[in-house]
Chain length 255, copies 2
C-alpha cells in the first residue's frame, strides 16, 4: 500500500471527525466534564475518537491505534494511527477556534504522515517529512535568524518557573518581539505555514507529538525536544525554522 492511499484515508478521517466535532463547538450548551488531571474533556472528544477508530478498524483491521481517550490497540503493529481528536481542549471549551484534530501514521514506530485539521476554519495541513501542504498548497517555514525579531508561540507561557529550567525559558520569552498563546496544534500550523517563528511546548503528551514531526520537517523546519534531542522520545517540543533552532535550544538550556 502506497503512502498516497494512506494520505487519502487520513483526509477522510479528518473530514469525518471534523463534521462530527464542529456542532459541539458551536453549541453554547456544550457539556464540559473535568478529568482527574483537570484537563477538560467532552463527549465530542470521545465521540470523534471512536468514529475514527471505527473507520480504521473497518478499512485497515491489522493497523494499530493509539489515542488519548481509549486504550491502545495493537500498538506494536507495523502501521499505527495516533489520534488526538481535540488538541487544545481549553481553547475548544472557551469558544476559541485554535484547537484542532491531530492524526499521525506511524510505520515501524516512526511518523510518516501527520495532519493538523481545524474544521471550523476549514484548514487541513498534511506533512510527510518532505512536503507539507495546507489545503493542498505547499507551505514552508519563513526565514528568521534572531529571537528579537521572532513571533514566539506557546500553549501556556505563564509561570515559566514551573517548567524545566524555567528561568532560562522566561529570559528567552522576554527577548522575543511578539509572544502569544496561539498555541496547541494551531501554533505548529502557523509555524509550518510561515506565520510564526518559534513554537515551544514545555510539556507534551506522546499522542500530541507524532503528527507534528512530519509536518514541521516537511515545511523545512526543525523539531526536537527541549534539549535538542529526538522529539519522539520526549515530553516537550521546540519547533522553529532552521535559522533559529540552535539559538533557541542553547537559550532554553542556559545555566
Amino acid at each position: 500500500m502506497s503512502l498516497d492511499a494512506y494520505r487519502s484515508f487520513l483526509t477522510e478521517l479528518a473530514e469525518k471527525s471534523g463534521d462530527f466535532l464542529v456542532p459541539f463547538f458551536t453549541d453554547p450548551e456544550l457539556i464540559v466534564e473535568t478529568k482527574s488531571d483537570d484537563s477538560p474533556v467532552t463527549a465530542a472528544d470521545c465521540g470523534a475518537e471512536q468514529l475514527m477508530r471505527d473507520l480504521i478498524a473497518a478499512r485497515f483491521p491489522d493497523h494499530g491505534v493509539i489515542g488519548e481517550e481509549f486504550p491502545d490497540k495493537n500498538a506494536g503493529a507495523e502501521w499505527v494511527w495516533v489520534l488526538d481528536p481535540i488538541d487544545g481542549t481549553k481553547s475548544f471549551i472557551t469558544g476559541v477556534p485554535l484547537w484542532g484534530t491531530l492524526i499521525a501514521l506511524l510505520h515501524n514506530g516512526q511518523p510518516v504522515l501527520g495532519a493538523i485539521h481545524q474544521p471550523v476554519l476549514g484548514q487541513l495541513m498534511i506533512g510527510d517529512g518532505n512536503v507539507t501542504t495546507l489545503n493542498g498548497d505547499p507551505v514552508r517555514v519563513r526565514a528568521c535568524d534572531a529571537i528579537e525579531t521572532a513571533t514566539f508561540l506557546t500553549s501556556d507561557p505563564l509561570n515559566p518557573a514551573k517548567y524545566q529550567n524555567g528561568g532560562a525559558y522566561a529570559a528567552l520569552i522576554a527577548r522575543a518581539r511578539l509572544v502569544r498563546t496561539w498555541g496547541d496544534c494551531y501554533g505548529y500550523l502557523l509555524l509550518a505555514s510561515g506565520r510564526a517563528d518559534v513554537m515551544c511546548d514545555p510539556v507534551m503528551n506522546p499522542w500530541d507529538i507524532a503528527a507534528l514531526v512530519p509536518i514541521v520537517r516537511g515545511a523545512g523546519g526543525v523539531i526536537t525536544d527541549w534539549q535538542g534531542g529526538d522529539a519522539m522520545r520526549g515530553v516537550s517540543i521546540v519547533a522553529t525554522g532552521p535559522g533559529l533552532h540552535a539559538g533557541v535550544i542553547a537559550a532554553l538550556n542556559a545555566k
Copy 2:
C-alpha cells in the same frame, strides 16, 4: 431617528467591511507595512475604514467619524461613529482569526451602541448597554466569584512589569486558573458571551474602548479603567462579571 435604525445601519457597516476584509486575511501574499509606532497595518485596514466612512457620509452626512487611520471628521457632532476596522492587527497578520472590527455610535459623547464583528467566524456581537446579542441571540457574562477559578484573558500579558503597577498585575495573573492571550476585541466577545471571566488591557487606544462599553454592560458585566474609574476617560480596561470586578481592581492596585 430611533436607535433601532442605527442598529440596522451598524449591521450593514459590519457586514460590508467584513466582506472587504476577509479576502485580505485569507491571502497568503498579504502585504504588511509597519507604522512608525511598530503596529502592523495593511491596505485592508485603511480600505475598510474608508468604505465605512463613505457609507456613513452618504447615509448620515451630519454625523461625525473618529477612526484610527484617518483624521477625525466633525468629532463634536451629536452623533459620532467610532471605527477600528482591524482591532488585533498582530493576530490578523499572523493568520489568527481573533481580530475583529469595532464599531461604536456615540450620542453626545457617550457610547449608545457598540459592535464587535469577527467576519471569518461569522460572529456579530452588538450591545446597547441594556442588552447584548451574538448573532441576534442575547448573551450574558457568566458567574465567577474567585480569580482562582477564572479564565483570565489579556491581549499581551508578558512582561507585566512594563505596565502600571506591574508587580501587582503579575501577581494577579499568577492566581488565575487559566491565562491566555485570546485578546483584543475577541477577548471581550468571549467575556460578554460567558466563555471567560476577566479581560484586562493595560494599554488601550480611545477608538478601541467606545464599542466595548455598551457590549460589556449590556451583557451584565462591569467595565472600567485600571483604577475602577470611567472606562471612557481612560487608556486601560478591566472588564469582568459583577462578582469579580472589585477584587480584580483591588488586586491590580495593591501596593
